[in-house]
């Protein structure tokens, strides 16, 4: 009787293991596979070991099985965490469709798909919109030199690019020495290349007191900092074009200075680029 009870518990565990492996095959990307498989397999193997304990009753084998169960419960989640961390830092992103649904921009994009399906520029524009939505926007007080500004920006950009902040700072300063990045008296786009691949990021900053870039541009108040690796060069050019169009829009600079705080700045950027987006669409038709 006890043997049969043990075997039934083992059966439950094996069903768990099988379902976990089905998940391993069916799920679309690493993180979902990881979460389906590791949890279910931990449960499944623990059930098998509990079954073995029930089967053997009070004996040394049962003690080993309990010890084994303890180790599986302790080590397997740790290993899963390590893999997820490794996957993340080796540059694998959560698939956009997953993140997108969570972040609640779905309705807008579906609407957009319905209006103009299957055109190339849409996706380009969308990437920029997506970036604007999630890039860090910061508001700095007081007047400062461009080196001090870069020192304050570098940790934020470094985090986005997964690159050492000091390296980012060094490259920004080098880039600035090569050629001034301030395009107009109130607008600058410092941009750098970083080593590695699959990295691209943008930081938008407003400096209320202005940043000294050069004699011609002593107090720049609107700064877009771009950074990326060589293989993301196309995103680079595209973003530059989009930024240029955004800031040339009528009344941008006034609204930029008037905005209350960081979220208002983000909202402004988002609204303008969306506007741009629609205008471009009209022109195509």
């Amino acid at each position: 009787m006890r043997e049969w009870a043990g075997l039934i518990i083992i059966g439950i565990g094996i069903v768990y293991d099988l379902l976990a492996c089905v998940g391993l095959i069916r799920m679309p990307e690493v993180y979902t596979r990881l979460q389906t498989a590791t949890k279910a397999v931990t449960a499944g193997t623990c059930f098998i070991l509990i079954g073995a304990v029930v089967y053997f009753g009070f004996s040394p084998v049962s003690a080993k099985a309990i010890l084994c169960m303890f180790f599986v419960l302790l080590t397997n989640p740790t290993a899963a965490h390590a893999i997820a961390r490794g996957a993340h830092s080796s540059g694998i992103r959560v698939e956009r469709i997953t993140a997108y649904g969570l972040l609640g921009r779905r309705v807008e994009s579906e609407l957009w798909d319905r209006i103009r399906p299957g055109e190339e520029y849409e996706k380009d524009q969308f990437d920029y919109m997506y970036m604007l939505e999630f890039c860090p926007v910061i508001d700095l007080d007081g007047h400062m030199g461009c080196e001090e500004f870069f020192t304050r920006i570098a940790p934020i950009l470094g985090e986005t690019l997964r690159t050492d902040p000091q390296e980012v700072e060094r490259r920004l300063i080098e880039r600035e020495q090569e050629a001034a990045t301030a395009l107009e008296p109130n607008f600058a786009i410092p941009h750098i290349l970083v080593p590695g691949e699959n990295a691209f990021g943008m930081v938008v900053a407003r400096a209320s007191g202005g940043v000294w870039f050069s004699k011609e541009c002593p107090a720049v108040k609107c700064i877009f900092i771009l950074g990326g690796s060589c293989d993301r060069w196309h995103l680079y050019l595209r973003s530059l074009a989009a930024i240029a169009q955004t800031v040339q829009m009528e009344g941008f600079y006034e609204q930029w200075l008037e905005a209350q705080d960081e979220s208002a700045l983000r909202e402004l950027l988002r609204r303008l680029s969306h506007h741009l987006h629609l205008e471009k669409g009209d022109m195509k038709e």
């Binding site: 094996i14 099988l18 391993l24 070991l49 053997f56 080993k64 080590t75 893999i83 490794g86 694998i92």
Partner: protein, 88 residues
């Protein structure tokens, strides 16, 4: 009872083959690492079942050692994925 255990073995082998499939298919290194980790844990269950089938208790010792070794192996692979040195 022997039949039931045989069915269990078959199911575990099927599960292991699913892991092997994912290991072969990839498509990325973390995918393969996940498959290796899962395969290790399934084999722990396999060893437990083996000790029931044969009545030998040392298979449970094998399971115990396997659980720890596969953990260390997975950690090493995860470190490799992070792109760090192993002693870091």
């Amino acid at each position: 009872m022997a039949t039931v255990i045989m069915i269990y073995f078959t199911l575990l082998v099927v599960a292991s083959y699913m892991c092997l499939f994912r290991m072969a298919r990839g498509p990325t290194a973390p995918d393969r690492t996940v498959a290796i980790d899962i395969l290790g844990i399934i084999l722990v269950g396999f060893c437990a079942l083996l000790s029931i089938w044969t009545g030998e208790d040392f298979y449970m010792g094998v399971a115990l050692a396997w659980a720890l070794l596969s953990f260390i192996g997975t950690l090493a692979l995860a470190k490799y994925l992070e792109g760090k040195e192993f002693d870091a």
